[in-house]
């Protein structure tokens, strides 16, 4: 039964993807824009109908302290694989830190519901297999939007398969507990993003483009642990074409933005 439902969903999505092909901007980072936009509106519809209301109810019903416990509990479990990823990325010290966090939080923090490690100054990291592949030199590949999972790239999708495969929550038995935990974690995450999604709503002219660019920028930053190279800034000033009498920083900034990531190229819709 689940299979049949999944197949119907897939067909529906492929159809809407084909229909969505009309509105693309020819961005080289996003060759699947038609499909992606269709997935995006599917996700958006799902979020409006179920995700946002449930997350809002969760936030309104549970006290902030309880929500923090839930967030910390799952964040603590995640630290195990964050450590493993740091190790294979050649950052053994960070890996040891992550596992130390897990040790302290699981014991002193009562099964992870209190983030005592952060209070001790042992900082949390953010790693996953997509970032590991990036660290190993893999580029993003085309941008992809998956149903329910949202923004991704080809590289990060490959990472996601491993993230899910090794996820202790997804692998937990018995199934009853597993599913409740997966749902609780998803609701908690969505609730944490309520403010952010409201701000996105307000800031973006085109939500799809805004979210895509934010995702790609964010991933680039994460792969480089918050310090992505900004090579363009080091260019000698002489190379900058002398143009209008703009403030100097504009030249630098425009160059900086146009060189590393050739965004939308005007190849027409």
């Amino acid at each position: 039964m689940t299979m049949r439902w999944a197949r119907k969903l897939l067909v529906a999505m492929l159809l809407s993807g084909a229909a969505g092909c009309a509105t693309t901007n020819g961005d080289p980072r996003d060759p699947l824009e038609g499909f992606n936009r269709a997935m995006f509106s599917f996700n958006d519809g799902f979020d409006e109908a179920i995700g946002k209301p449930v997350a809002t109810a969760y936030r309104d019903v549970l006290p902030a302290q309880v929500r923090t416990w839930v967030r910390n509990f799952f964040a603590n479990i995640a630290d195990l694989w964050i450590g493993a990823n740091n190790l294979v990325q050649g950052k053994p010290l960070d890996a040891v830190t992550d596992w130390a966090r897990f040790g302290f939080n699981t014991t002193l923090g009562l099964f992870g519901i209190n983030d005592v490690a952060s209070e001790m100054g042992i900082e949390k990291h953010d790693e996953d297999f997509g970032q590991t592949f990036g660290r190993w030199g893999a580029g993003d590949g085309p941008y992809v939007v998956w149903p329910f999972l949202g923004s991704s790239s080809v590289r990060d999708s490959a990472g996601l398969v491993l993230d899910i495969h090794f996820d202790p929550v997804v692998n937990h038995d018995p199934k009853g507990v597993r599913y409740s935990m997966v749902v609780l974690r998803a609701i908690g995450r969505r609730a944490d993003l309520l403010d952010a999604s409201r701000i996105l709503e307000e800031a973006a002219l085109d939500k799809y483009v805004f979210q895509r660019d934010a995702y790609l920028q964010r991933r680039r930053s994460l792969v480089h642990d918050g310090n992505p190279p900004r090579a363009a800034r080091e260019l000698p000033r002489a190379e900058a074409p002398e143009t209008a009498p703009l403030p100097r920083a504009i030249d630098t900034a425009v160059r900086l933005l146009e060189e590393p990531a050739p965004g939308a190229v005007s190849s027409g819709g």
Binding site: N25, D27, T56, R59, D60, A64, T68, R71, N72, A75, N114, D115, S118, E119, E123, K124, H125, D126, D192, L194, D195, A196, R198, I199, E201, E202, A203, A204, L205, D206, V209, F210, D213, A214, Q217, R218, R220, S221, L222, G226, P228, T243, A244, L246, P247, R248, A249, I250, T252, A253, V254, L257, E258, A261, G263, A264, S266, G268, G269
Partner: protein
């Protein structure tokens, strides 16, 4: 001895001069202030007001916007910001178009900023020391927001030295540059409907109703 009215007048003039001097000294302090100190002062001042002001706590959006306009805006360089966001199309815009673009972009950013401030719920800040030479005129100031159970969120302020003091021309939140993020959007709109189309799109965006104030406190 001067006659009484004259003495009063001189006293008033002296007072005015002293006052003007004091005001200028205040300006001078902002001018001479190191960029990281400036960011720290403004952040702490604004957060303190947000935390203590009863109207803002009750969701008074107008007051938040007024707060941003008086405390934060003077330290932003909207010309650089807008020019960078519009990118290669900036040179195609006439002076009047540039002014309107700047104006609309400023409104959009202030509105967005007001919503971000409304979402503030007591997170702690960590102000990192600036790694720059005293002669640098182009620096990045790092601030981090600490929250239990998540990696700290890094905020980078790209700042440039101007005659009026240090000014911000881009903000990167968690590695996402505000200006870069708008660039693709703006580029798409300009390609489809020109600079005027972009001005119109921004106007339309700005005239949308603000989301329910304090929706997060329902």
């Amino acid at each position: 001895m001067l006659p009484k009215p004259l003495r009063l007048a001189t006293a008033a003039a002296t007072a005015a001069i002293v006052l003007a001097g004091a005001l200028r000294a205040h300006d001078a302090r902002a001018q001479g202030m190191a960029p990281d100190a400036l960011v720290k002062n403004v952040t702490l001042e604004v957060v303190d007001i947000i935390r203590t002001d009863k109207d803002i706590q009750a969701g008074d959006r107008k007051k938040v916007i007024a707060l941003i306009e008086s405390k934060v805006l003077p330290h932003f360089n909207f010309q650089t910001m807008t020019a960078t966001a519009v990118g290669r199309n900036w040179d195609k815009a006439g002076a009047a178009q540039k002014a309107r673009l700047m104006d609309e972009f400023k409104t959009l950013l202030v509105r967005t900023y007001a919503s971000s401030l409304a979402a503030y719920s007591g997170q702690k800040f960590e102000f990192r020391p600036l790694r720059a030479k005293p002669t640098d005129t182009d620096v990045t100031v790092n601030v981090r927001i600490l929250q239990s159970g998540t990696q700290p969120v890094q905020i980078d302020y790209d700042m440039e030295k101007r005659p009026a003091g240090w000014q911000v021309w881009d903000v990167r939140v968690g590695g996402i540059s505000l200006v870069a993020n708008y660039r693709t959007e703006f580029d798409n709109v300009v390609r489809e409907s020109g600079i005027d189309g972009l001005i119109l799109a921004l106007q339309r965006k700005n005239s949308e109703r603000a989301p329910v104030a304090g929706a997060n406190k329902k």
